[in-house]
Structures are given as C-alpha cells and as structure tokens.
Symmetry: C2
Subunit: 303 residues, 2 copies
C-alpha cells in the first residue's frame, strides 16, 4: 500500500539554522562528540579548538572511532585480515626489530575459551575474528640460538617494553585499516587476566606474551555504540613542560560531562570514581596483579 | 634555451606492458615496496597476497609510511598538533583510563638537549616539533590523592604496562593523522636512553615516564627516505596457533632481501645480524639496560 502525502507546502528536510547560529561542519560535529560537547549541558555550544580546521578525511574517521561489541554474523575475509596485517607491519618498529606477532583466532571453541578467560566478554564469540597481539621475543631468540649467539639483552625490562610497544603500535595501525574497510573492533585487555591459559590456547612458545586481543567484525547497525568522550585536550597536551596542577579544573568539567554520558547509557558513577576504583588495589585488577610473575614464567626475566 | 623535440613517431610516455604481464596497480606497487618485492632479485615479479585487493585509500597511505628524518624549515601549526592530539585521544584507551600525556617541545635548546640525550639524533633539531609521549599515572594518583583514596593498584607491573600501551596506541593514531596532513615523522626510542634527564627537561612529576619521542615536520622532498621492507606476512601472522619453526625459511628470504636493501643505502650487514647485535647484551642497549631501576626511581614500583 502506498501512502499518499497530504497536499500542502513543502516541508524542508532539515531544520533551518536558528538565527545567529550556523550549522556545524562535519568536523565540528565529530569533535563535539569526541569531547562531549553534545551532552545536554553543552548542547548547542560550538566546540572551540584550533584543530577542527585541520581535520582531514582520515582524522574525521579517527574522531568517529567507537568500540564495537555488537556484530553481524557476516564473515571477515582473508583479504581483509591480510590488509590489516600489512597495515600493522607498515607501522614504525623500534630499530626494525619487528618483535611482535599476531594470532588470528576463528575457531569458535577457542574464542569461547577466550571469552571466559577475559571475564565473560561475549563479543569475542560474536565477532568472526579474534586477533591476539603478541609481544614476541621468541623469533629474535631463535635467530640468536641458530647462530649460538648470546641473548643476555633479551632479559632486560627495556627489551620487554620494546616488544609490547611494537605490538601496540602495529595493532593500532591494523585498527585504523579495519575501520577504513567498514569493519568495527574492540580491544580486549582481558587476555592478560590469565597469561598462562592464553599461551596454552595459542601454543605460544617461551618469550612470547599475549599482550591484548582485538575483536573484528561487521558492526551491527541496529545496535550502534556511542563515541566515548575524552578528557579536554588541555589535560593531556602539554607545551614545553608537563603541568599537573592545571589539570584539576578541566578534569572536574570532564567528570561532570561523563556523569551525563554514563547516565545516558543507564550507568551510574563518575569517571574519577572509576579511576579510583582501578587504582585501589589488587582486588580490582581481574587477576592481573600477578603480571610480574606471569612475565617471568613466560621467559621475560625483567632484569 | 628550449629543446625542440626531434620529429618522428610519438613515443608512449609509459612503457607498454610485456606480453603476458599487466601493469601493477597502485596497491600492488605499494605492497611490493613494503615487502621488498621491488629489490633487484625480485624486480618484475608480482607480489601475491590476498590483501592487495582489499587495500583502501587509508591502507595505501599506511603502506607508504616511511620514517622521515629530513625536514623543511616550514612550521607545523598549532591546528595541526591539535588535530594530532584529537586523533590520539580518539584511539582506544584501556578502560578509558587515559593514562598517557604528550609534551610538545618546540624550544630549540630543549630539542638540542633531547638530540644529545637520544644519541646525537640530529633530526630532533631539524623538525620544528618534537612530541614526547608520556606513560602517565600521575593524573590518576592525583585524583586518588585528592580523595585520600588508596593507590596500591598503581604499583603493579600491569598498571605500568597499561600506561605504556595506552601511550603507544594514542601515538600511532597521531602518526596516521600527521601523515594525512602531509606531515612526516619518526619515532625516537632514544628518549629512554636517560629517563632522569628526559624527566628533568620536561618537568615530569613522579609516576610519569617519557616512553618515546616523535619528530614531526614537513618532509624535505629533495631528501626522501625509502619505505623499509618488512618480514613476509607468514612470519608475523599466525592462524589459530603460533608457529615458530615455520618462520625460518621466510626469515632467510627476508634476510637476503634486506641485504640488498641495506646495500642500496650504502650500509652493510644483514637483518639477522642486527637482531643478534641487539640481543647480545647490555653493551648494545645505549644505557637502557637500567630501565628497571629508572622506572622504579620514577615511581613505577614494578610489583
């Protein structure tokens, strides 16, 4: 049955801008969402930031990033994962050491175990692909072992850090690549809740460590996630010297805005309360208070 | 004086493809450079990878990434740094803790000191902006202190790692943003050569740590850098379970290709030799063998 529109004057499809205001550009709208200028207490205000004028298409898509936990059943292709890996490898690597790897997990039973391991994170089962990013000194040790060369340098905290930093920088390039293909993702730090279990699931050799996971799939448009507002730029961006005292007022402002954001998601609490909870002690660390021992057991001596 | 072209049949501007071959697409050319398929021993071969067909404009620019150490004197604007910071903040943050900061250094004297600190890295003076990415628990500690809340959770290796991972993920988004604006950059791990000096230069409070630097500027087109080939995908990309034994043959292949690459840059040696050198022991670590103590002195207890 076709609905016949009533006769009458044409209705404009978009509301006209109010007198004295101008419509927001896309960059302004994305910036507003990223910094919580679209919460109720600020609605209608225009964000002020020099960077808005410099936003490229790429930066626009970065501003629009949101963690995706609801996925369609559609597959992620081998070509898409290959392109993500190529992007990851194209990121900078400390001295070109390339001390990272990634394990692609598609097997539903393995994903179910990772979901349990990470604290009942169901999105690991919902996404067709679960990537586990590995801080990887095993390859370097193997190269040295093949030549009967010394490996003392691998025992230091610094070398462990390089492997974790390399993995993170690579993974973020893969994340940007995935989003450019229309895919969605969420990082999963919960793979660190039980490093020995994660290693067993992936057959990890000594001197490799599952740093974090990443669910990848097609976002379910019926269950979209929201952009999470971040701290005002002045809190994280310092000129010439670090300023701690100046952060208090903008943090309080952010805290109020995040309370609105959480309320809109039917969640209680404040951002600063979450920070305090996380810092409170080992009971709030989901098992990760044993990380030092876990690293040492997996061959990162932490000298 | 104008050169008059000789009369005769029109010469095609691009060589015609040889019989049985087809011209490379842009994605194939970028992929070839990234994986060293354009070295002499492989010239003319077409790279085989499923991902080539999935390359988006964003992934193409990621594939084209190269570290830039030669800059024009042109300024990087406040708007450009602001857009980089917004991109950095738009990246995922573990539990939205946002335990990182960035210090923008423009002062030439400070940059000169960082160049010394990092081991005579002159590009820090050549680039107008030097960003220092900070693993930052100081903000969280301050929030807890203001409420007289406990902070034992901040003492664990896990919490230190989260701060470093957050900083790296943020920084890589900023790097992608910078390149989308036509800027070039290079990471500088050398800021970790002397963490106490770096902290003094930036006025860093306890529980912040200069994780790495990043030179940002306009690439000098007269002194372009080359894309550095990476390991074959099969070395770093594992399916379902990690495979160490299967890496030997493709690593040997890469080692040969990198020897060609280094020779083209008037450098000697092999990639595996560099790996062995780095792993050899503290003498090859530029002072970073003291990282454990440095972290502890800066308030990261490493429990």
């Amino acid at each position: 049955m076709t609905t016949v529109p009533p006769a009458g004057p044409a209705v404009p499809e978009e509301p006209l801008p109010a007198v004295g205001s101008s419509p927001r550009t896309d960059a302004e709208a994305l910036w507003s969402a990223r910094y919580g200028w679209d919460t109720e207490s600020r609605a209608g205000e225009s964000p002020q930031a020099p960077g808005i004028a410099a936003v490229t298409d790429v930066i626009a898509s970065q501003l629009a990033h949101r963690s995706v936990r609801r996925f369609l059943p559609d597959d992620v292709t081998d070509a898409q994962v290959s392109a993500m890996v190529a992007a990851a490898q194209s990121a900078s690597s400390s001295s070109n050491l390339q001390v990272w790897s990634v394990v692609e997990v598609r097997d539903p039973q393995t994903r179910a175990q990772f979901a349990d391991l990470a604290g009942d994170q169901r999105q690991i089962m919902a996404a067709p692909v679960f990537l586990v990013w590995i801080a990887d000194l095993a390859r370097a040790y193997q190269i040295a072992a093949d030549a009967q060369a010394p490996t003392e340098g691998g025992e230091y905290v610094e070398t462990m850090l390089v492997a974790f930093l390399d993995a993170a920088i690579a993974a973020q390039n893969a994340a940007v690549a995935a989003e450019s293909m229309g895919l969605g993702l969420v990082y999963v730090g919960g793979v660190r809740n039980d490093p020995a279990w994660a290693a067993a699931l992936l057959g990890l050799p000594q001197r490799t460590f599952a740093a974090f996971g990443m669910c990848v799939g097609h976002p379910d448009p019926a269950r979209p996630s929201r952009v999470k507002p971040r701290l005002p730029q002045e809190v994280v961006w310092h000129r010439e010297r670090y300023d701690l005292a100046g952060q208090s007022a903008p943090i309080a402002d952010y805290d109020a805005r995040m309370a609105e954001f959480y309320a809109g998601q039917s969640m209680a609490g404040r951002w600063t309360a979450r920070i305090k909870a996380r810092l409170s002690g080992p009971a709030a660390m989901s098992g990760r208070e044993t990380m030092k021992r876990s690293l040492q057991e997996r061959g990162f001596e932490l000298r």
